[in-house]
């Protein structure tokens, strides 16, 4: 690729310029974001790289704060045949180093770049100061792409802004929500920029392709993590001797340990998902992320939620009731693995190997009970993970608020996935929690792939 396309990101103070750049370059640590005005006071360059080469160089600029007075000052300048001459005359003058130093930085950059992005906080009314900003920007004679920020906010005045921009002959514009970007709006942004810079169209479409490729890979990685977790948990099979089973205290402890194991594995998966999306777990502290504060974890073994899941799964019976011995110990989420496993084992015995058969027979002879996770738990977990994936995919890196934990709403669409998952039930050795080496088992890997594929339409539907 040739020289990177240079783009200055400009706008009123606190309109979300740095946030936008964080989202566009996926760099959570870039710049400084706060609700205070004038947080960015220097010009900072940050590159968007495509295959290791800089494709777009963004310049984060200080906010325009006093455009009304500046416009008046610039109008008074003499001997300026064209608008850019007027800007240059101002930059040569003393005020460019004085009261308007911040604005001078922006305008100096605007004269150098290929294009500008004008970030607008659409919650603000279209006041004279904003019109002054737009007017000054047009004087720089560079293509300007307005980026409407906070369009999803209830107070957004998008339409007022659109008509104002049209009055300044800015018809192409992008709606963007730096805090919760629409899927695909980023691609739209580059696409529309290509209409402003026709000579860089090929470069910009390469950027779009690159972004889409990265997005797909991220999503694939996320699906693998979730599928891997589900396979591992479905495979769990904890043998318990008849003596231990009879002792209520030991049984309690046993169940507690198993639950702790499940929670630990789920937490690790959540952390991995956050890492794949570029969130460090120390950023995402408990207060900020409901995914780490344990609220969703309580859901996993909550009888009410499980009953609800049971209804959605169509298993009908109340949790535990169908499984005989499990009913009276009310494990809420853990069951004795006979009922579920036998069906799966018989169905897929030929493909899953005969080793299972011998193990089960031996356990039966010795009277060993095996604990497994009920489908309802896996269902609730899967629904939560889909929520998290969707939230991460939709979330911009500048979000200072929370990832919203949606309701675990997957209903019918999770059913086929649950059916596929049953194959794992017959393979206690596929649980990575107990057998680390299982990761490389070819048949297990194929199942993980299948679960990942089953997740694809569910997550995609959430992103639409």
């Amino acid at each position: 690729m040739a020289e990177p396309i240079q783009v200055a990101v400009v706008g009123h103070t606190n309109a979300g310029k740095t946030s936008l750049l964080r989202t566009l370059t996926r760099r959570i640590a870039f710049g400084e974001v706060s609700t205070m005005p004038g947080t960015t006071r220097h010009v900072e360059a940050v590159d968007l790289k495509v295959n290791g080469e800089s494709a777009v160089r963004f310049f984060d600029t200080p906010g325009l704060e006093d455009a009304v007075s500046l416009l008046d000052l610039m109008k008074m300048l003499d001997n300026c045949p064209t608008p850019p001459d007027r800007v240059r005359a101002f930059l040569r003058g003393p005020e460019a180093r004085g009261a308007f130093e911040q604005e001078a930085k922006v305008l100096r950059k605007m004269l150098e770049v290929d294009a500008g992005m004008y970030v607008i906080d659409t919650r603000e009314a279209v006041l004279p100061k904003f019109r002054a900003e737009i007017e000054i920007l047009t004087w720089c004679a560079r293509p300007v792409m307005p980026v409407l920020n906070f369009v999803r906010d209830g107070r957004s005045r998008k339409d007022e802004w659109l008509s104002t921009l049209a009055a300044y002959n800015m018809h192409a514009c992008v709606q963007f929500d730096a805090v919760a970007p629409f899927v695909g709006s980023e691609q739209l942004l580059y696409h529309d920029m290509a209409t402003l810079m026709r000579e860089r169209r090929a470069d910009l479409s390469r950027v779009v392709e690159h972004l889409e490729f990265q997005r797909r890979e991220r999503l694939a990685a996320a699906r693998t993590i979730v599928a891997d977790l589900l396979v591992s948990l479905a495979a769990i099979r904890h043998p318990m001797t008849p003596e231990d089973f009879a002792d209520a205290q030991k049984r309690e402890k046993f169940i507690g340990d198993l639950r702790a194991l499940v929670l630990r594995a789920s937490r690790t998966a959540v952390e991995e998902l956050l890492a794949v999306y570029g969130f460090r777990s120390d950023d995402a502290d408990a207060a900020m992320l409901p995914w780490l504060d344990g609220r969703w974890e309580d859901d996993l073994f909550d009888p009410e939620t499980l009953r609800d899941a049971s209804r959605k799964l169509g298993t009908g019976a109340a949790v535990g009731a169908a499984i005989g011995a499990a009913a009276d110990i009310a494990l809420a989420g853990l069951s004795l693995g006979t009922a579920t496993a036998v069906g799966a084992a018989i169905g897929g015995l030929a493909s899953q190997g005969w080793g299972q058969f011998g193990r089960r027979l031996a356990n039966k002879v010795r009277g060993v009970q095996e604990l497994t996770l009920e489908n309802e738990v896996l269902y609730v977990l899967a629904a939560h993970m889909v929520d998290l994936m969707a939230a991460l995919e939709l979330r911009g890196h500048a979000a200072q608020g929370k990832v919203q934990a949606g309701t675990a709403s997957g209903t019918a669409e999770l059913k086929p996935l649950m059916a596929t998952l049953q194959a794992s039930r017959a393979h206690p050795d596929w649980s990575l929690l107990q057998h680390r080496g299982a990761r490389h088992d070819q048949r297990r890997r194929r199942l993980v792939e299948a679960i990942g594929e089953a997740l694809r339409p569910i997550v995609d539907a959430r992103l639409r």
Binding site: H12, R26, N51, L127, E217
Partner: protein, 471 residues
């Protein structure tokens, strides 16, 4: 060339597959817990620019630290020896069968020898073909010479490291993922069998050259025509390749004294060559070509969570560059002016940059006011209001702003000029959405040095403050 701390050098294009293998091995090792990689990450980041290249550089550097590259070099040296060993094994099994026939006396049952020599190589070839056709290579993946080679290499005597086994598994997994396992192992299998069959042919040639054999056939239930047809049929292909075809007379009564057994011996050797060696050489070359191509295109699966996490870390290392530094005057001097004298007993209320739908004027306000005005903020409006204020010089001035808007230097400039015209100035914020808005303005006022201005977010309180100015 930049010299790096860990001695990283760019991967030559021909060595890319080795880097992929090392990286995959490191991935498997790290599944048991991450390796310390701060300096390696940094070095890989600076040495390469592409995503995959950086991952490979990291893998290569860590692999070197674990001496995986030494293992790999050792494998390369040892591989030929092991292939020779395997070939010997194949030779022993193939020739052993034939020797049972040939070595038992001066009479050789030619048809039995044909099957004894060709059965095993053909069977293994069919298994390989099945693996290729099924694209799965399930059984072949474990029971082939390729896998045996890998297994033996990982367990070579000498300085054995547990990682060698991981590397063997990584190689297996990598080939499987790329769906080239059958082809890659095919190269080893076919090479082994080619060598073995060359040995078999040499042994046959030697035996037929220096010993007099009688090649015959025997039967209990078949007729002589069957053998004539069998030999003619199997001999046709070798005949096209230049091997002599036995005369029908020879075939009908091979045990007849004076029969020429030479052509019959050539037929046997021709069959071993044509049906044993030739197909092996052909599929061997084909496998080698497919394998080479696959190796050239070998790449990391960057959609793996493990690699995505590393890529995120690399991304975070990308630096941004400050190109136009901040040169703010630490505190712009705003000389404290004398408190202006009021020229009027009444107060003034000015709304500044309020959104159009904001209620105006705010209520309740004191009944007597010298000026109630709202402006959107154009330069002319500002000028006009400031002129009015300087003329009136109200006893108290209440500026009304929209709490949710962000205060800026334009606001500051207006405030500063307005305060010059009244002894008491206050700011009233309306329609705050929460405490954050008010707090933001409060902090901004302190930062801008506007603390002489009183601050309200409640209309009645502000109205009370205005009334308090009387008398």
């Amino acid at each position: 060339m930049t010299v790096f701390q860990n001695g990283y050098q760019p991967i030559p294009p021909g060595e890319r597959h080795a880097a992929v293998l090392l990286t995959e091995t490191v991935r498997r090792i790290e599944q048991d817990g991450p390796l310390e990689d701060q300096d390696v990450m940094r070095e890989a980041f600076h040495a390469e620019t592409g995503n995959e290249e950086r991952l490979l550089a990291r893998g290569l550097l860590l692999g070197r630290r674990l001496q995986l590259d030494a293992d790999l070099a050792r494998w390369k040296r040892a591989a030929w020896g092991v292939v020779m060993l395997l070939a010997l094994l194949a030779f022993v099994s193939a020739y052993g069968a034939a020797a049972a026939v040939i070595g038992s006396g001066r009479t050789v049952n030619a048809v039995t020898a044909f099957f004894a020599l060709l059965a095993l190589p053909t069977l293994t070839l069919v298994i390989w073909l099945l693996a290729i056709v099924s694209r799965g290579a399930a059984l072949f993946g474990y029971l082939s010479f390729g896998n045996i080679l890998l297994w033996l290499l990982a367990r070579l005597p000498g300085e054995r490291r547990p990682q060698a086994l991981v590397m063997a598994n990584a190689a297996h997994g990598l080939l499987e993922r790329e769906r080239t396992l059958a082809w890659a192992f095919g190269v080893v299998s076919h090479a082994t069998w080619t060598l073995a069959l060359v040995l078999v042919l040499s042994a046959l040639g030697f035996a037929f050259s220096f010993q007099a054999y009688q090649l015959t056939w025997e039967t209990t239930i078949l007729d002589a025509g069957f053998f004539t047809r069998f030999v003619t049929l199997t001999g046709t292909l070798p005949h096209w390749l230049g091997f002599p075809m036995p005369e029908p007379d020879t075939l009908r009564a091979p045990a007849w004294p004076g029969t020429d057994h030479r052509t019959f011996a050539w037929w046997l050797m021709g069959c071993v060559f044509t049906y044993g060696l030739l197909p092996r050489v052909l599929v061997g070359v084909m496998s080698w070509a497919v394998w080479r191509r696959a190796i050239r295109r070998l790449s990391l699966d960057t959609a793996e969570p493990y690699y995505r996490k590393l890529l995120v870390r690399f991304e975070e290392m990308e630096a941004s560059l400050v190109v136009d530094k901040e040169q703010r005057l630490v505190s712009e001097a705003h000389p404290r002016e004398d408190i202006p004298k009021a020229g009027n007993e009444d107060g003034a209320v000015v709304g500044f940059e309020l959104p159009p739908e904001a209620a105006w004027p705010p209520s309740p306000l004191p009944a007597r006011l010298a000026l109630v005005e709202r402006i959107a903020g154009t330069f002319a409006e500002r000028r006009a209001v400031l002129d009015r204020l300087s003329a009136i010089r109200p006893s108290s001035l209440l500026l009304v702003c929209h709490a949710r808007s962000t205060p800026d230097r334009g606001t500051e400039r207006f405030f500063r000029e307005a305060t010059r015209h009244s002894p008491r100035t206050a700011l009233l914020l309306t329609s705050a959405s929460d405490g954050n808005d008010v707090q933001r303005w409060r902090e901004w006022m302190a930062q801008a040095g506007l603390d002489s201005i009183a601050f309200f977010d409640d209309v009645p309180v502000a109205a009370g403050w205005m009334g308090g100015g009387h008398g």
